[in-house]
């Protein structure tokens, strides 16, 4: 399998492992966290409004929808729109022929999928600044994510969550 399709297959496996992913932002953060901690996703991320974001990943999701391998449902929720992603039958068939070996993927994604997008945004932001001291990371979160009003306790929780995720790949 060529590299291009291998990257598509990895993303599809992650969505299949999670069952259903609700929200584009949530999907972005899940892939970033997985990449940062262990899994071989190749999409490149930059810091955007909601933390690490990959234009390449957005493109890949759109391509998979156009290819009929991913199902995207846009629904109105309260004052905003959200998107739900699941694998289609042709998508599953594609995966049977093109599966990539990624041990521990299912547990990892099931766990992240239980968290909300706001918390995953914080976790991914903490990971983005992982070369900084915790105090500096807190400053970054408080200045760059002012509107989210994260608390110190939530930041502590994000650090603990990262540690707990690391145990899932052992």
């Amino acid at each position: 399998m060529t590299n291009v399709l291998k990257d598509h297959a990895k993303l599809m496996q992650a969505i299949m492992a999670a069952g259903e992913v609700v929200g584009r932002k949530k999907l972005q953060k899940m892939i970033y966290i997985a990449k940062k901690i262990h899994f071989p996703f190749n999409d490149r991320f930059q810091f955007h409004f909601y933390g690490p974001y990959s234009e390449e990943l957005t493109t890949r999701v759109e391509e998979l929808c156009n290819m009929g391998f991913l199902n995207e449902v846009k629904e109105k929720k309260g004052g905003y729109y959200q998107y739900r992603y699941t694998l289609t039958e042709p998508g599953k068939e594609f995966l049977t022929l093109n599966e990539v070996d990624m041990p521990f993927l299912e547990n990892f994604f099931l766990d992240m999928n239980e968290q909300n997008a706001r918390f995953l945004e914080l976790v991914s932001t903490v990971l983005f600044f992982d070369e900084l001291e915790k105090e500096e990371v807190m400053n970054k979160v408080f200045t760059l994510k002012k509107s989210q009003r994260y608390t110190e306790a939530e930041i502590d929780e994000a650090y603990q969550y990262i540690e707990s995720l690391k145990t899932k790949i052992q």
């Binding site: 060529t2 929200g23 584009r24 909601y50 493109t59």
Partner: protein, 472 residues
């Protein structure tokens, strides 16, 4: 021993004078006296050159430098290195004029930002004059970490040039010394603007957004050097109607048509130049050369010429020093000598790149044809042609303009028009042309293969014939 009082005072005076002199020598590096006779003193961050310097530029006519710090940055070896890295990578194999460098482009982005600040923003309430040098430095240095044939290199060796931009700005480099001279913490501030992690969102948006100095320069510059006519738009007009706001630069409604032109020009450039299939073919081969050399190194293959410059890349422990040593001249040297290697794949791929004997391509629909791809893969192996290096799917994708509206979870900051009543309106709500292409991604997949090897029927004629049938 008692020292006479007069001598004692004389010694003290000398010590004091030496101390003052010593202090002056240190400070003269930070503080320069300017304005003859006026007695004005200015810090390095405010220091101007005694005479403005200009670079002749084919796109902006002149690039003007008045600030000492900018002049010093241009002279650093890390910035000069950008002269040896082409802006458009392999595009020169399609458009022979596209030999311009990242040095040209970086100066161009700096000049656009300088014009925004000095000619349009200066004196406006929403613009913080104290951010001028920070913005200029970030504009000048935004591509500093690009390596040779960046995109292929990053893919093969799995790194991001932005990490090297940061490492150069914050590391033990000449650039870092100049920035530190401006003030403590200044290098970090510049790095944060470039990484888009700065809280100064207006400054970030001037260099990186859907209408920024980076894009405005590369569209015009790449159009000029490739010789195509698509990249034209009225930049002077856009600059005149830009207005600073807290979160981003906005455009006066009266400038909407100039912005429409800019967006259409971007769309054309992507499909006519950046994604040109022949340039993509060259990049596919370049990527495969790097993969092959890495693979051979890992298998302890005895290179005729030891690939010294690549060793740390192959071993995945690249230092900043190693990285800065690598430029396109070095890469092309290796490609030249690898044409004489014993490994037939490395030799063949290098000959193809150096002599522009590129892969041919066919349209490919991954959703409908992935089974065909698997079939081709098997046939290539049977024909003795390694599909890992000679059968490649390559995708190009672009979104000309995107927007988000309040209530949608999108990540791209849209272009905002400043209406006469002071309200902001998202561009596609006012422009029918932009609305027509907003959020519409175009993707193109192609399958690359060596047509000459498949046409050679001296071996595996039947299998090659089957392959050709599948590819046609």
């Amino acid at each position: 021993m008692l020292v006479p009082k007069v001598l004692y005072f004389s010694i003290c005076r000398k010590i004091l004078r030496n101390f003052v002199l010593f202090w002056y020598i240190i400070e003269i590096n930070k503080v320069r006296v300017i304005g003859k006779g006026a007695g004005k003193r200015m810090t390095y961050s405010m220091e101007k050159l005694s005479e403005e310097k200009v670079f002749k530029d084919p796109v902006h006519r002149y690039v003007h430098v008045q600030d000492r710090a900018i002049w010093d940055l241009v002279g650093t070896k890390e910035f000069q290195r950008l002269r040896r890295i082409k802006q458009l990578g392999t595009t020169f194999l399609t458009f022979h004029g596209a030999e311009h460098s990242r040095f040209n482009h970086s100066l161009g982005v700096y000049e656009i930002v300088r014009r925004m600040i000095d000619d349009v923003f200066d004196g406006r309430e929403e613009w913080n004059a104290g951010d001028r040098l920070l913005t200029l430095c970030a504009a000048l240095l935004h591509d500093l970490g690009h390596g040779p044939f960046s995109h292929a290199f990053e893919k093969v060796f799995d790194f991001d040039h932005e990490d090297f931009t940061r490492a150069i700005i914050l590391g033990d480099t000449e650039v870092n010394k100049v920035l530190n001279h401006v003030g403590p913490g200044f290098p970090e501030k510049v790095a944060e603007v470039i990484a888009k992690t700065s809280e100064k969102k207006l400054v970030v948006s001037m260099i990186s957004s859907q209408i920024d100095a980076d894009r405005m320069d590369y569209l015009q510059r790449d159009a000029y050097f490739t010789g195509v006519s698509y990249g034209q738009f009225d930049m002077e007009r856009i600059l005149r109607v830009m207005r600073p706001r807290e979160e981003q630069v906005v455009i006066k409604k009266s400038g909407m048509h100039a912005v429409e032109d800019y967006i259409m020009s971007r769309y054309q450039m992507y499909w006519q130049v950046y994604f040109h299939p022949v340039s993509r073919s060259a990049e596919v081969i370049l990527t495969k050369i790097l993969h092959r050399a890495k693979q051979l190194f890992k298998e302890n293959y005895a290179f005729k010429h030891e690939p010294h410059h690549f060793v740390s890349f192959f071993c995945e422990n690249v230092t900043l020093e190693d990285y800065l040593k690598l430029d396109e001249a070095v890469i092309l040297y290796y490609f030249q000598i690898w044409q004489e290697e014993d490994d037939s794949i490395l030799r063949d791929l290098c000959c193809r790149f150096v002599n522009r004997n590129l892969f041919k391509y066919a349209e490919f629909d991954p959703a409908k044809e992935y089974k065909k791809l698997a079939q081709l893969n098997t046939l290539f192996i049977k024909a003795g042609i390694d599909p890992d290096y000679y059968l490649v799917v390559d995708s190009s994708s672009d979104l000309p303009y995107d927007f988000y509206r309040p209530g949608e979870e999108e990540e791209r900051l849209p272009i905002h028009l400043l209406m006469e009543n002071g309200e902001l309106r998202e561009l596609s709500r006012e422009s029918e042309i932009v609305d027509a292409i907003s959020g519409k991604r175009r993707t193109d997949h192609k399958l690359y293969y060596p047509a000459d090897l498949l046409a050679d029927e001296s071996t595996g004629a039947d299998i090659k014939s089957q392959i050709r049938d599948l590819l046609e």
